[in-house]
Amino acid sequence: MPPVINEDKCIKCGLCAKYCAEDVFFGTRVKEYPTVAYPEECTHCNSCVEECPEGAVSLRIPFPMMLLYRPEWPKSGQ
């Protein structure tokens, strides 16, 4: 579930990159928007989402997990 950064919310604090155990944000520079350098290596541990002070990170489900997606099913929790 590679992270997607909402640049409108991001304040370039770098915490997501600092906390990612998989180093998915490799190459992210101080005071710049984080780079999702190795999206396919994300293990969706949620650390970057947890750490982001601005709620600017969301995780998206990659294609292989989606293959059997059935849009007509109701969403859970409803």
Binding site: M65, R70, K75
Partner: protein, 548 residues
């Protein structure tokens, strides 16, 4: 003049060096700090998010001696010690003794273990265990953040983002480790009086689930066998590489744990024909030992009764299901609800499709009752598995390590020539142009392991696997890395290859089925004669296998 250590990189000195800052490393840090010794915690990730606990855990296993026979130390000893477990009764007793202490430490930092109205812990059963040994955790996803903060506050020295690539020995004792910073390549030299190995029991990325993505795994894909490879290289004896291989069922395409909660809530596993087939394989049905459910599902798949496989939970009471889906499962992996949302999963209304996970290789560094390995000064912090097993093992190992160096109070000299050649070796892929990328190298290993070391194996296949892995090994020096990130993956891939060779060799030796998650088609029965532990030792660079 010889190279000075300081010219090679950063030199650190400590009493107890703890390698790995997952649950085991954290348990070790707590014990070292309690013992009042200097401790240093090293990990290639960051303490607050590293390891399998990084994204959260929702259950803690605890035998609490509350009265009933099945909640006693003896029940735990009976359950965990077997001729092939590698655990002595004394080891298990220490684990049980440390459990309440670990719970207190976790409660102190705000981890909420769920309680019944009468104040006792809410506990459930699982894994075919005789008692309700699993305490549910309410706020599981931030445990690692809390532990990290506590450990730093205790004054333990923390070194994040350093990958350990070699152990140091001197005069037949462990004396430290070498590693490098995964983000900028800085070389690190650690000198210590005792070393605790807490690099995790699981070796992942050797096979994949149906998504084909080696990072979409049950346990942390960051672990590729360093725990075993470093110990083996340094001369410590390994055991159980042949039997301690693990797998689970996962929600289809979603590498995540959680089957414990699902099974213990009373879910039924159904095959493609809609049959609840477990009864044909094990009287414990879905709540028997995990390997039985894995083997049964695999067998159903082989004969064509699946995929798909489903977990049917619709008969379970709605409150239990609601708690399971919306509290416990996201406590294990917060993204579970995103997955549910996108797949339309609702435990109360629909069956959930599941699949066999990737196979995870594992084993144990052999150790005595004080968790000291066959290499003096080197302690095994990952004797037991699970959150409880790891944190308590780390604790016991560091407690012993802290007491051990009274007799060996000094720091041993480090051979700077050896450190220089290790530095050259680990950084080499950066200098190789146009060679094999770590990705391609790893894919080659996976092709071999997926094909010949899957759920059903035989001698001819495993011999072929060993040939292929040797061929891949012969290309090791052509590994090339364009960035420091790729360099880390290259060094992980080297460990992955080494552990794959060792586990294949060990499995070939065990000519029976039924003690692990795989079946040998050439030896389908469980044999009494193999109720023994197989050990692997380093004999001048080559593995030597021996039955204990």
């Amino acid at each position: 003049m010889g190279t000075r250590l300081e010219d090679l990189g950063m030199v650190h000195e400590t009493d107890v060096l703890i390698l790995g800052s997952g649950a085991a490393g954290c348990g070790a840090a707590l014990a070292a700090s309690e013992a009042g010794v200097r401790a240093m915690l090293v990990d290639k990730g960051k303490l607050e998010s590293s390891g399998c606990l990084g994204g959260g855990n929702d259950h803690f296993m605890a035998v609490l001696n509350t009265g009933p026979e099945n909640d006693s130390t003896q029940a735990a000893v009976d359950f965990f010690s077997g001729p092939v477990s590698g655990f002595s009764p004394a080891m298990i007793r220490q684990w049980v003794e440390v459990m309440p202490r670990m719970i207190r430490s976790l409660e102190d930092i705000g981890v909420e273990f769920i309680r019944n109205p009468d104040g006792t812990y809410l506990r459930t059963e699982g894994f075919g265990q005789p008692g309700n040994w699993w305490i549910n955790i309410e706020n599981g996803h931030r445990i690692k953040r809390r532990l990290g903060r506590r450990i730093r506050a205790l004054g333990v020295d923390v070194v994040d983002n350093v990958m350990v690539t070699r152990l140091l020995t001197a005069g037949g004792r462990a004396a430290g480790a070498l590693g490098y910073d995964i983000r900028d390549g800085t070389f690190h030299i650690f000198r210590a009086k005792a070393v605790v190995m807490a690099l995790g029991n699981s070796a992942n990325r050797a096979t994949t689930n149906s998504t084909g993505n080696p990072f979409n795994t049950w346990h942390s894909p960051f672990n590729t066998g360093s725990q075993y490879v470093l110990a083996f290289d340094a001369g410590a004896r390994l055991i159980n590489l042949d039997v301690r291989q693990q797998a689970t069922l996962i929600p289809k395409g979603f590498g995540c744990a959680g089957m414990n909660g699902i099974n213990s809530s009373g879910a039924h596993e159904l095959n493609a024909l809609g049959e609840r087939f477990m009864g044909r394989y094990h009287p414990g049905m879905e709540n028997g030992p995990r390997r039985e459910q894995i083997q049964a599902t695999c067998q159903e798949q082989v004969i064509g009764n699946g995929p798909p496989f489903h977990m049917d939970m619709r008969h379970i009471d709605p409150d239990t299901l609601n708690h399971l889906q919306y509290v416990l499962m996201p406590g294990d992996k917060a993204t579970f609800l995103d997955y549910c949302g996108q797949r339309g999963i609702d435990f109360a209304k629909y069956k959930m499709e599941v699949e066999l996970s990737e196979i995870e290789f594992s084993g144990m560094i052999d150790c005595d009752d004080s968790f000291e390995t066959s290499l003096p000064g080197l302690f095994n912090g990952c004797v037991f598995s699970t959150f409880s097993g790891s944190s308590c093992s780390g604790y016991i190992a560091a407690r012993s390590a802290s007491a051990s160096f009274v007799a060996h109070p000094g720091l041993a000299e480090v051979d700077s020539q050896l450190a220089a050649s290790e530095r050259e070796r680990v950084l080499r892929p950066l200098a190789v142009e146009g060679g094999l990328s770590s990705g391609r190298f790893e894919t080659a290993i996976r092709q071999v392991m997926n094909y010949y070391m899957g759920y059903v194996r035989n001698a001819a296949g495993m011999e072929t696997a060993l040939d292929r892995l040797a061929l891949i090994d012969s290309r090791k020096d052509t590994l090339s890395a364009a960035t420091y990130h790729e360099l880390m993956r290259a060094n992980e891939a080297r460990h992955l290859l080494a552990i794959c060779r060792l586990v294949t060799l060990a499995t070939l030796e065990r000519k029976e089925s039924g003690r692990s998650i795989y079946r040998r088609s050439d030896y389908p029965e469980k044999e009494k004669a193999f109720a023994r532990v197989l050990c692997v030792e380093n004999d001048n660079g080559s593995p030597r296998l021996q039955w204990l």
